[in-house]
């Protein structure tokens, strides 16, 4: 079925056709889940957050004024919901030494070397992301994974453009530092 655009389905929902909202969920679920995952750090919480965000979006749909895109508005809800959840929960953050595996470990269960390399890098990035605060995780996710423009990121996170530049730079530096440290640690463990 061809997707007819967010506006079409929003009007359907506001006209009383609740099931039209499922089209909006389908169109935006992966990006919403990905953002939630990058902030929360695990799939169970990400699923809970993404569902809560869609529920809140449905409840507030009458108040959505179409000044920004539905996606931007939804991601703002995901961002706020995920950040609240992470702040409310006391989470133990793994130390660098506790990062579970090196590239060789990925190779043992992923025979395709290229896939193993990708998986390894994903794990490194996810691990390093958890060392950042919730808002910086969102910035990294929206900038690198969703490749959003600065204005859009600013609308979603409520962080000013100027502040965002500085925070992104610092978050990047911190993540690179962590990734390099983990790689060195794993190399020395496997020698």
């Amino acid at each position: 079925m061809n997707y007819k655009g967010d506006k079409f389905y929003i009007e359907q929902v506001l006209g009383g056709k609740m099931n039209a909202f499922s089209q909006l969920v389908d169109a935006h679920k992966d990006k919403a889940f990905n953002l939630a995952f990058r902030i929360c750090g695990n799939r169970e919480e990400a699923e809970e957050v993404a569902q809560d965000a869609f529920l809140k979006a449905y409840r507030s749909l009458k108040g959505f004024k179409m000044e920004s895109s539905f996606g931007t508005w939804l991601y703002r809800i995901v961002f706020n919901t995920a950040v609240s959840l992470v702040r409310n929960k006391k989470k133990g953050i793994l130390s660098v030494e506790e990062f579970p595996a090196g590239i060789l470990d990925f190779l043992t269960y992923q025979p395709d070397e290229e896939e193993a390399e990708k998986e390894y890098r994903n794990s490194l990035v996810n691990f390093a992301l958890q060392k950042l605060n919730e808002e910086d995780r969102a910035l990294i996710s929206l900038y690198y994974y969703d490749e959003m423009e600065a204005d859009e990121i600013s609308k979603i996170t409520g962080i000013s453009r100027q502040n965002m530049k500085v925070r992104l730079f610092r978050a990047r530096q911190k993540m690179i530092g962590i990734i390099e440290k983990v790689k060195k640690t794993n190399v020395s463990h496997h020698e």
Binding site: N19, D26, D30, F37, R38, Q51, L55, R121
Partner: protein, 143 residues
């Protein structure tokens, strides 16, 4: 995208891009849409849509007005059938009441039941039916 980055920033930016795999976007689990829609449907049943204060108060307000009008009209009704009522509407009400069948309370064998009591009960039942009708009329679009 933001500004002209210096060499150190460019180096860091490139390094992180080397690790970030855009294809590694985490996808929502199987059945996510169905679970989300189920939650929405359940909530719609448990918590029906919020109505504005105006809409919520309309039916009670109409009931109060109608009841008040009836009470005020009754206050102005003369005690006897042949006395002139204070309000013109009293004439119509008098005629209406005169036309009502007489309800005998004698079979109940209770001393001093006021004659107007049965009419009051009938009036209350009629008001209740009127209230239900109004409620059904204004809530029908929700069904």
């Amino acid at each position: 995208m933001f500004h002209t980055m210096n060499n150190k920033e460019l180096e860091n930016d490139d390094l992180l891009r080397h690790y970030v795999n855009r294809e590694g976007i985490e996808k929502a689990p199987e059945g996510f849409t169905a679970k989300t829609m189920t939650r929405i449907q359940i909530e719609a049943i448990i918590y029906p849509g919020q109505r504005s204060f105006r809409v919520k108060s309309f039916v009670p307000a109409v009931s109060v007005i109608v009841t008040s009008v009836l009470i005020i009209a009754a206050l102005f009704l003369p005690a006897g059938q042949y006395e002139k009522p204070l309000l013109p509407v009293g004439n119509y009400i008098n005629t209406f009441i005169a036309g009502l069948p007489e309800i005998s309370v004698a079979p109940l064998d209770i001393a001093s039941i006021p004659a107007w009591l049965p009419y009051m009960f009938i009036g209350i039942i009629l008001l209740a039916l009127f209230d239900r009708a109004l409620s059904g009329f204004f809530h029908r679009e929700k069904k």
